[in-house]
């Protein structure tokens, strides 16, 4: 199928340095906040300091009189235009959701919600006037604890009559993809029951969100620091009842997203509505504090898990009872995030039975939505922690217990108990390579020595063998899950008369290296020099069709669209080349950018054909004078990258301090277009996963105020907090796309969290500890050690229901009845 097979070298697979770097390293950048337009006004938001209250009055007079202020808008002022922010994923037919105004109208439901908007001639004048808006609130009961909220009591939205938005169930017996999990549990020889808390996180992309709207043309142009210009255009049109054709959305340079910019935000709607009202360009750029407070959060789930197994370590069933905190509203895909995890709890294993029940719960907190991995990190954490616990329970090496249960490489394609078909993989190969790079056996030996010697600093080894479903698409599957959109991606190719090429992609990169990778793909496919190819994206006027960038979908779906469009270009060029060569089209072969008449040295270049169609002087009769082409690709299946991650952690048993000593991972993401970019994606992903394990948590106090509202308190790790990584790859090409690629954007984040926590627990398991809640701060580890050594009996599952303003209370301690920890001597009988 590859048309350029006989070229001596290929672009795909080479570590091309990125073409997008030149602007970024010299400061020639186009961030949204850089944009200034004639007559432009600046917005600042007045935000609620309280978590749940009726708005009894808003006095804007003083703000209006403030120097430079042009207008002030409350929710009531724009209510006829602001609509309700969209939720594109109603997971059940009876899902409940409150109206979601961009500016609150009658009540505020979380601290940070917008209650008014100041418009002024300068950003400083707008910010100055924020203080002058006088809002009176009548407090309502604040609902913060998702477990309690799920049971009833005070209501986040009294009109809904319940705090439960939806309950979603997958049962392998009902779906006929496996057996009955209750039966497996009742017959289990070994039962592992755990409750894990996925703390609330904040995406914390480095570029704060910013939006500029210019209503002065026939189309209103919206620049936004967004991952989703195409989806945003459609959703703004629907939300504000503006004709879609009257909107143009541009995502210029975007400084990271990680799911956090996969949203239709109140700030975008407000800026759009206000700019149209005033007929003036308007800009809003959030502060970091606003970003942490009101940009959507991620994770925030409580996972009650029951794993049934035989004494020999064979797992017979897994039951997942999940609570997911939606926060106060449903954002674009809020309700679907836990569902993305539902298919991944069985991970790489051959579980015979599986049941997943998820309750989505409203609380008076900022809403949650996609954050790197989106549902899959939570699932992977749960199962990888459980596999370690099972190994400890029966006293075998945690790698052996995984191997006993995982799908063997010769068993692919494999239909899982969750109903997915995994196309390819080789868990044995990735694990063997990771063990070797890591020096697994030597580290285990050192661990034994340190335990025997009773060292103050103990060594723990954590394992995570993960897989994920990525490349969102296929559209039919998304439809079956009630997702409102499809999952295809679009590309078009313009063959310019000068011999250059423009590739237009509907996927919208913001740091992933699309320009470079897409150029490599197109260069190979068209046989053109890498430097002659320009990638255009992120503007609905330039790139009319697209579904944007998230869910590790860009390459597997968008990259394949480029391949398909390139193949069409060659198809269209062929009869014209034949005409120019005075040959029969069937006698031509395309290679290295040229059409050759087989068996002769007569040939014509693709760029010659580009010029010929531009002139259109000498074309075959009746042929369209263009070889430009477009393609929309919708894959038949997800892709399933996997990998084995190994982490060695040193834990100081006196202070609770943890230090990652070694981190080694071997990822299998199928074929690789650019190894350099892949490595970068892995590194960045790892750090976000490690940050969940050790550092980050969005904490609310008892009143529902975000305590971690700045980078002083929300601990995004720095270079000094992070170790050097050893990375490796194995390669099992995907069989569901012609490139053989699988996606890598989220792999590191999904895999690393359980690897690190497993390592921390492993370091102190022999001291009677079998869980430590994330983030495993020194204080939490220390508290766990203290509790364990005092012999206190902390009931395991009781600790999980509070949202902890007091970070110390969640350390979990083994009751001592389980194994004393793996000794390295055992084997699977």
């Amino acid at each position: 199928m590859t048309v350029t097979e006989d070229r001596p070298t290929t672009e795909v697979g080479s570590s091309r340095l990125r073409k997008e770097d030149q602007r970024l390293i010299t400061g020639r950048t186009r961030w949204t906040d850089n944009i200034t337009l004639p007559g432009m006004l600046h917005l600042a938001m007045v935000r609620s300091p309280v978590a749940h209250a009726k708005i009894t009055s808003i006095d804007v007079d003083a703000a209006k009189a403030s120097p430079g202020v042009v207008a002030v808008f409350t929710g009531a002022d724009i209510n006829d235009e602001q609509g309700s922010l969209p939720c594109a994923w109603p997971i059940t037919e009876d899902q409940l959701a409150p109206p979601h105004p961009s500016i609150a109208v009658e009540t505020v439901n979380f601290a940070g919600e917008i209650v008014a908007c100041i418009v002024a001639r300068t950003a400083v004048a707008a910010k100055d006037a924020v203080e002058l808006v006088d809002v009176e609130y009548d407090d309502l009961p604040v609902v913060l604890d998702m477990a309690a909220a799920a049971e009833g009591g005070d209501l986040t939205h009294p009109d809904l009559g319940t705090n439960v938005s939806a309950t979603w169930v997958f049962d392998s017996a009902e779906a006929e993809t496996g057996g009955n999990v209750e039966q497996a549990i009742s017959e289990a020889e070994v039962l592992i029951e755990r409750t894990f808390r996925q703390q609330r996180l904040i995406p914390a992309f480095m570029e704060p969100r910013s939006v500029v709207c210019d209503p002065t043309g026939e189309q209103t142009t919206v620049w936004s620091a967004t991952q989703i210009p195409h989806i945003l255009r459609l959703m703004l049109a629907l939300t504000c009842e503006i004709s879609e054709s009257k909107l143009r959305v541009i995502a210029p340079d975007v400084g990271g997203g990680f799911g956090g910019k996969l949203q239709v935000t109140p700030e975008e709607v407000v800026t759009l509505v206000v700019s149209r009202r005033l007929a003036r360009p308007c800009k809003y750029t959030e502060t970091r504090s606003e970003s942490l407070l009101a940009g959507h959060h991620g994770r925030d789930q409580i996972q009650k898990l029951t794993l049934a197994a035989k004494q020999d370590g064979t797992v017979t069933g897994l039951k997942v009872e999940l609570l997911a905190d939606m926060g106060a509203y449903l954002g674009l895909v809020t309700s679907g995030i836990p569902i993305l995890g539902a298919f991944m709890y069985n991970s790489i294993y051959k579980f015979p039975s599986y049941r997943f029940v998820c309750k989505n719960v409203f609380t008076n907190k900022n809403w949650t939505d996609a954050y790197r991995g989106a549902g899959r990190p939570e699932a992977t954490f749960a199962i990888e922690r459980l596999m370690d616990e099972l190994a400890a329970e029966i006293g075998v090496d945690p790698i052996d217990i995984r191997e006993k249960n995982w799908i063997k490489h010769e068993e692919f394609p494999f239909s899982t108990v969750a109903g997915l078909e995994y196309d390819s993989g080789n868990y044995e190969a990735a694990t063997a390579k990771a063990k070797e790079l890591f020096g697994y056996d030597a580290l285990r030996a050192e661990q034994r020595q340190r335990r025997d010697a009773g060292d103050q600093v103990q060594l723990g080894i954590g394992i995570s063998t993960f897989t994920e479903m990525c490349g969102l698409a296929p559209s039919r599957v998304l439809g079956a899950l009630s997702y409102a959109a499809g999952g295809w991606e679009h590309a078009s190719i313009r063959m310019l008369p000068s011999g250059k090429v423009e590739v237009i992609t509907g996927s919208s990169g913001h740091g992933q290296g699309h320009e470079t990778a897409w150029s490599q793909i197109a260069a190979d496919r068209l046989g053109m020099p890498f430097d002659d190819i320009e990638i255009l994206h992120g503007d609905t006027q330039v790139s009319p069709r697209g579904l944007d960038t998230y869910g590790s979908r860009s390459l597997t779906v968008g990259g394949m669209a480029v391949v398909a469009a390139a193949d069409k270009v060659i198809e269209k060029a062929k009869p014209i080349a034949a005409h120019l060569l005075e040959a029969d089209a069937d006698d031509l072969e395309f290679s290295a950018g040229r059409f050759n008449v087989k068996g002769t040295d007569s040939s014509v270049g693709l760029t010659d054909v580009s010029l010929a169609v531009f002139a259109a002087h000498n074309l075959p009769d009746g042929i369209e004078p263009s070889i430009d082409a477009e393609a929309t690709f919708d894959p038949a299946n997800f892709s399933f990258p996997h990998g084995t991650h190994l982490c060695a952690v040193e834990v100081d048993t006196e202070t609770g301090e943890t230090k990652i000593r070694d981190y080694t991972c071997v990822d299998d993401i199928g074929k690789v277009v650019n190894p350099l970019i892949v490595e970068g994606q892995v590194h960045g992903g790892l750090v976000q996963g490690i940050a969940q394990a050790l550092f980050e948590e969005a904490v609310y106090d008892d009143a529902g105020t975000l305590v971690t509202g700045s980078f002083v308190d929300y601990l995004v790790p720095s270079a000094a907090d992070i170790p050097h990584f050893t990375t490796g790859r194995t390669e099992s090409p995907s069989t569901t796309n012609a490139l053989g690629v699988k996606g890598v954007g989220e792999a590191g984040t999904i895999a690393s969290t359980p690897a690190v926590v497993n390592a921390v627990v492993d370091a102190v398991r022999h001291l009677g500890i079998d869980d430590i809640e994330m983030p495993c701060s020194p204080h939490r580890v220390w508290t766990a050690l203290q509790t364990a050594s005092s012999g206190a009996d902390t009931p395991r599952d009781k600790t999980m229901v509070d949202d902890n303003a007091d970070p110390s209370h969640n350390a979990q301690v083994s009751d001592g009845s389980g194994a004393e920890g793996f000794t390295g001597q055992g084997g699977l009988g």
Binding site: E207, G255, G685, A720
Partner: protein
Amino acid sequence: MARISIEVDGVGYSDDVEPRTLLVHYLREQVGKTGTVVGCDTSNCGACTVHLDGASVKSCTVLAVQADGHEVTTIEGLATGGELHPMQQAFHENHALQCGYCTPGMIMQSIDLLHDNPDPTEQEVRDGLEGNLCRCTGYQNIVKAVLAAAAATPTHSDAAAGTGRSGGTA
């Protein structure tokens, strides 16, 4: 309003600024140096790092009036005569950036780091970049780039053989 005179990237500017205007806002909004960016409001992220008289500062912690009479170098003033600064080149060659938002600050801080310590260890690089956050790269390639730039700098061998950390702050 206060009158200030500043040299930015080799060009002199005289402007009226509000006394409370931060240097970063002056650079972005009045001088048009939008290559320098803002990432936080608590001086934690380092995205705004520039050089003030040759030493790195977070330009969100300096008032424009404090820079009166001084020289500022931003990311836009580093490349001279069409030649990238070696640190810019090292960032490119080592894939030390993804979205690029932290990059101007990282590069400015890294140059300062090598100025103080021309032959740092990996850990010294990590510690020296502690005030600059990057959410994309996981830092590994940034550290690699700084070490590569150190190795490529001519003063490297002198410093290593001679006075070592003489320029350092430690």
